[in-house]
Symmetry: C2
Subunit: 408 residues, 2 copies
């Protein structure tokens, strides 16, 4: 039955792809009229590009999933039908059913809040609050359905904690933070044409490959099936969006898409029971976050925008820089830049008057530090290449290496 | 256990009320900055009033409901706990659980689509499509959980159809149309300060009274409990919104609120199994719709806006009118105005040159036809009075009269 269900899911995904492909161009003017647009700063003609199109593909995704709801349950019911009574079989998968619905509730809520953020331009602290709100139903259902908060310990600490440990409420905090992490991780590594959607496509593809491997191995079949059901339509609508968002962008995706994508990943990670593996697929985002820390937490002065600088003459992107006096930095700031300088991870130019010029600490700028001025399209491709490489590393960590740490 | 659950629900509702009361004024400027505002045409100073605040109370409602999710199930589980195994009792109410989640999914989806409509200003045909999309998950879960499409026949047609009739797919169409009806019914009877929220408050209160009566009688306890769980928080956030939306409005509620309210009513009607009674509570909206038909379907010329006309000198509202030549009307149009004229339901002024001036056919204008120019605050009060009267009529139909038509 699983094959038929996945095939039908794939069919719905294909439908969603063409639907999204068709409606995105038709809605473009409506977004501009509604004052939802941005200027593309890395182009010669700084055209007005419709913004927040993520809400559109999010809605197409939801409709596709709504239509899919009855499929797995009707098929499984048919397979397990009690022939004599003709009634609902005792094995009707209630818990899976409610999981699918609550996953959609969390995602729908996140799209709503993301769109509200795009329209109303909420403050920074809201960006942490909104994903927490949207995960609430998930946590509540987890509480009612399982309330299992026990984690298996890695081998090398079992002497200290035993084989497993019940971490209680910490487990819920962990799940909530996972959603905050996933949504914001994609939102932070953004700003050049196609990057948000590009990285989401690769994460989604990595998850699907992982699901396929685990399904073949027969591990945790329910969780991975569940993940496939959500990931195929997500991949489909993201591909459609990619067609319009890749260089040169005809549409921007908005925070809505970053939230939508991040929440979808968090939901399959949590309810598919592979949240640790999921985090491995976010390696570039984690590296970007770590690299950004000196500026994010103000140890090094941070300008309002850290996007690369566009040179209209050559049509290439250059690093964007920040300027400060060396003695402005406190002791921690000094330590951080020294480490980064030592490993040649930043540019560093000292002026005679004591001022220092260095690049802004983002992964996009780092690519430009290494490769010099590059065309925007190529920067996106390089960053997507990094994402693919990191996914390969993730699989190496997950399969050969994990057996040293956990029993598999 | 029911009493404790309802009490906790009420407590959460009170919290939601104060939360909404607190955040509405804080977000006002953000809405105006986002270009979401309208001018109040029935005031001397046509100030800019923030629009679509419905999305805010919708979100507060959702958060309140998310926090409520575990309450009924934890309590019922505790009551039915299998002491020996300590495990989940065999009687765990899976179907009720999934109903609550899917109800929230439909409502959340409707708030999202409503807000998108407010921001993007979608076309008229979308107004019929959007509620249909948002009801999809509800219908899908209904299909998986029950798929009971049999209706009980009224006594007087049982000779023809038998005691009950399985209407199959028509039942799903009926449920989908109920959602379209509820959402648009509130949206059509609107336009003066406080009217959308005012009517919603009275419908919600009527539903709660009906639920209380049925719970006391012990009829369909599960359905009515379910309805109470959603209606109390809805009433709470609507009351908070009413404080700012009543005359003179400091905020407008937008299509978002109309959709949100209509969907919440449709959901409790469908999943609470009292959709026919629910329709009775919409009598003024039905009357408004019937009265509007000649203009809605263009039998009589319909201007773009049919709001009453404001007289800045007296601060009173007058009927707004439409003008046409009598010979423009086709045969059906002529018949309709003749009937309306005969029963004195419209004003009718024939000019010497063959033109005719008559009021626009809305319930708001009808109140002004009967009572003459009235202050805006009073018009809203009158229409709310009509709503209360109609609810009383609904109870009379539902209780003493229904026993003639159905067995009770």
């Amino acid at each position: 039955m699983t094959y038929i269900t996945v095939a039908l899911n794939g069919l719905i995904a294909v439908g969603a792809y063409f639907m999204a492909l068709r409606i995105i161009p038709r809605f473009k003017d409506m977004f501009i009229k509604a004052n939802l647009f941005g200027k593309d700063l890395c182009k010669r003609d700084k055209k007005e590009i419709p913004e927040s199109l993520g809400v559109l593909v999010g809605c197409v995704f939801l409709v596709a999933m709504f239509l899919f709801i009855p499929v797995p349950f009707t098929l499984e019911e048919a397979a397990a039908m009690d022939v004599e009574t003709g009634g609902k079989p005792a094995t009707f998968p209630h818990e899976e059913f409610v999981e699918l619905i609550v996953a959609l509730l969390s995602i729908c809520c996140m799209i709503l809040l993301g769109f509200a953020d795009d329209v109303l331009d909420l403050r920074w602290r809201h960006k942490l609050l909104l994903p927490t709100i949207a995960t609430l139903p998930l946590l509540m259902v987890y509480y009612v359905n399982y309330n299992s908060t026990t984690i298996i310990m890695p081998k090398f600490v079992r002497g200290l904690f035993g084989y497993s440990l019940d971490i209680g409420v910490l487990y819920y905090i962990y799940m909530g933070m996972l959603a905050v992490f996933c949504t914001n991780a994609i939102n932070i590594l953004a700003g050049i044409n196609g990057l948000e959607v590009g990285q989401s496509l690769i994460v989604a593809a990595s998850i699907l490959i992982f699901n396929a491997i685990e399904l073949c191995l027969g591990h945790q079949v329910d969780g991975h099936k569940f993940s496939v059901y959500l990931m195929l339509p997500f991949l489909a609508v993201s591909l459609a969006l990619w067609k319009y968002n890749k260089y040169p962008s005809q549409v921007f995706v908005g925070d809505t898409f970053c939230y939508f994508a991040g929440m979808t990943f968090a939901v399959v990670g949590i309810l598919g029971h592979f949240s640790k593996t999921l985090i491995l697929f976010f390696l570039p985002q984690i590296i970007n976050f770590l690299y950004s820390i000196p500026q994010l937490f103000k140890f090094v002065p941070c300008p309002r925008h850290r996007l690369p600088k566009y040179d209209p003459q050559t049509d290439l992107l250059h690093i964007s820089t920040t300027e400060f006096r060396k003695d402005e930095l406190n002791i921690l700031g000094k330590l951080m830049v020294t480490v980064l300088k030592t490993f040649k991870l930043i540019t560093w130019q000292e002026m005679p008057d004591g001022r220092v010029i260095t690049n802004n600490f983002t992964l996009i700028n780092f690519v430009l530090v290494v490769f010099g001025p590059v065309h925007e399209r190529v920067v996106t491709q390089m960053l997507m290449g990094v994402q693919v490489l990191c996914s390969i590393v993730a699989f190496v960590i997950r399969y050969p290496l994990a057996s040293y740490v956990y029993d598999t």
